[in-house]
């Protein structure tokens, strides 16, 4: 056999091997978490809040972390949504005119996208100290919104770019304003994509720990106001794993399973979205 064919075969084997490693890692991560976490997951675990402090508290469940995480991520996502949708709309040609501002915004969003969440956390905490704010649900929501902002905006902008220009032209030629065109035609056409962007950002928000480490705090209770500290699933995993008590560590496994289920649900929903809500869409 020729040398070049041998080379091709060798690389083919290496490529398939690499792909197997990638898929294998994913299965190993999910498998390990489920294997450790499912046995300790019980009804009590997800319906009761923690008892006895997060570090040594063996009693109760992780409801405070589940609810806290949902509050944080939902709040952050709502806040980020209003900013992102405005920015994504504005980056369309008819608003920004393809100007320097839109290029600068894209660059800025790209840098924000790459900014480590611990940096957001440190920055957020510094600002909160400046205003004498304590770690709270509100602080966590704001920082998560910043973290989600670039992810959501870029996803939305990509989707808006795929809206055929002809559709906009039709709307404008009928005498519609930019807002009418954007809300009634562009958004309608881009709806599944916009929702996917929101969900991806939500997933990123609910899984992030470093940004809320200092800004949202941690507590055994479910927060009752925006100014209460709140627990969260990622931090529950982090703190509970660090305790010497095996029972508390098991709570970390349960938290990880819940978090993984949420992430999986988001992943499946985004697949599903790209098929549904497409009844009127023009291909």
């Amino acid at each position: 056999m020729e040398l070049r064919r041998v080379e091709e075969s060798v690389f083919r084997v290496l490529m398939i091997l690499s792909l197997l490693i990638v898929v294998g890692s994913l299965l190993a991560v999910i498998g390990t978490i489920l294997w450790k976490g499912l046995p300790v997951l019980s009804i009590d675990m997800i319906t009761k809040t923690a008892e006895g402090g997060y570090f040594l508290g063996k009693g109760g469940g992780i409801l405070n972390a589940i609810v806290g995480s949902l509050y944080l991520a939902a709040g952050g996502t709502v806040l980020a949504f209003f900013l992102s949708i405005g920015i994504a709309f504005y980056l369309q040609k008819e608003y920004s005119g393809g100007t320097k501002l839109s290029n600068l915004t894209r660059l800025s969003l790209d840098i924000l996208w790459g900014t480590p969440s611990i940096v957001y956390g440190a920055f957020g905490f510094t600002v909160m100290m400046y205003f004498h704010m304590r770690a709270s649900l509100l602080g966590g929501i704001i920082i998560l919104a910043f973290l989600e902002l670039p992810i959501m905006t870029r996803a939305m902008e990509e989707v808006l770019k795929t809206v055929p220009r002809e559709l906009k032209e039709v709307s404008y030629s009928l005498g519609a304003t930019r807002l009418e065109t954007t809300l009634r035609v562009v958004s309608k056409q881009a709806l599944p994509g916009l929702m996917t962007g929101v969900l991806i950002a939500f997933g990123r928000g609910i899984g992030d720990a470093a940004s809320i480490l200092f800004t949202a705090g941690y507590t055994d209770r479910i927060p009752t106001s925006l100014f209460d500290a709140t627990a969260s699933l990622p931090l529950a995993i982090f703190f509970q794993l660090g305790t010497p008590s095996p029972q508390v560590q098991q709570k970390a496994y349960a938290s990880a399973v819940i978090l993984l289920v949420i992430v999986l649900a988001i992943s499946i929903t985004t697949r599903f979205l790209s098929r549904k809500y497409t009844k009127y869409i023009i291909k």
């Binding site: 070049r4 064919r5 091709e8 490529m15 091997l17 690499s18 792909l19 490693i21 990638v22 890692s25 994913l26 991560v29 390990t32 978490i33 209003f82 900013l83 405005g86 920015i87 504005y90 920004s96 501002l101 600068l104 915004t105 660059l107 969003l109 790209d110 840098i111 790459g114 900014t115 480590p116 969440s117 611990i118 940096v119 957001y120 956390g121 440190a122 920055f123 905490f125 510094t126 902002l149 670039p150 304003t177 807002l179 009418e180 609910i206 899984g207 992030d208 720990a209 470093a210 480490l213 200092f214 990622p234 931090l235 995993i237 982090f238 794993l241 990880a256 992430v263 992943s267 985004t270």
Partner: protein, 297 residues
């Protein structure tokens, strides 16, 4: 009739405000961190900060060298592991795999990107650390600190970086025109020769950008690394040593012991360092990707 114009006008102003905010947000973060980090920058010479190994905040000693080296070791190892595996996978998916396999892999890779970093960290603690402690280290006859260290951090980080490099490389490879491949194949080149000499050469800047973005993600990753890397403030000398990367330092110590002079400032300097490095990497990579998008490269 005028109400329509008014709505259009007001909404466009609100959108503009949001856009300007996004532009400024990065500068807020940069300036905010800089202003809080400036006390230590004026109190301690920059060369000491960067190259001294003495870390004793209570004695006013702030040498970041062990942390910087810790970051570089972990990130470097993760990149060395992740780059060949990601590139080979990506090439296989875009050049060899059929549509069916590609459609299966896409959501899996997205999922890999979506798994929270603490979950990766937990997996590292449950699977990678015991493996190194009980199997790998005894087999190689090396000492570890209970399996925690750079190797564990590097492996976990590498997996977190896979989806970034794979998906960006995939996009870059797809942007190489089909005609180019056909030309090479019609000259009698094998598929692999075509990939090696034509496709990869054309895609080189983009792949470079993908690696940089992966590296920069690894550079700032906090929780997963923090959980498995050992956190010992010493300059590492092998991949079995523990390390203490910058993000872990921030996460572990920020908010505590704030009464020590300059301590907060030092930690925020660490955050500033991360931000600046990541910013440079991102700008570099985006420049390349934008050029590719415009068809310049």
């Amino acid at each position: 009739m005028n109400l329509r114009r008014l709505k259009d006008n007001i909404s466009s102003r609100l959108m503009l405000a949001a856009t300007v905010f996004a532009c400024l947000l990065f500068f807020f973060v940069l300036i905010g961190l800089y202003s809080r980090a400036s006390p230590i920058l004026s109190a301690v010479p920059i060369t000491d900060l960067l190259f001294s190994s003495e870390w004793g905040p209570t004695d006013g000693k702030f040498g970041f060298f062990p942390f910087i080296m810790g970051t570089l070791w972990v990130t470097g190892l993760a990149t060395i592991i992740a780059v060949p595996i990601s590139l080979l996978s990506s090439i296989y998916l875009s050049e060899y795999a059929g549509n069916h396999l590609r459609n299966i892999m896409k959501p899996l890779i997205d999922l890999l990107a979506g798994i929270p970093s603490v979950v990766y960290g937990l997996w590292g603690v449950l699977a990678v650390v015991p493996f190194i402690k009980d199997t790998l280290a005894p087999a190689l006859g090396v000492e570890t600190v209970g399996g925690y260290g750079i190797l564990a951090g590097g492996i976990v980080l590498a997996i977190m970086v896979f989806p970034i490099i794979i998906s960006i490389t995939g996009e870059v490879l797809r942007s190489v025109s089909q005609e180019l491949r056909e030309v090479s194949l019609s000259l009698g080149a094998t598929k692999w020769q075509t990939i090696k000499h034509v496709v990869l050469r054309k895609a080189r800047p983009g792949i470079f950008a993908a690696i940089i973005l992966g590296f920069s993600r690894a550079f700032g990753e906090t929780m997963a690394v923090l959980m498995v890397v050992g956190n010992v403030a010493k300059v590492p000398s092998s991949i079995f040593d523990p390390a203490y990367p910058l993000p872990a330092l921030i996460a572990n110590t920020f908010g505590e012991m704030m009464s020590i002079p300059l301590y907060e400032s030092a930690i925020l300097l660490a955050a500033l360092m991360l931000l600046v490095v990541v910013m440079i990497f991102n700008i570099l990579a985006r420049m390349v990707l934008i050029k590719i998008e415009r068809g310049v490269v």
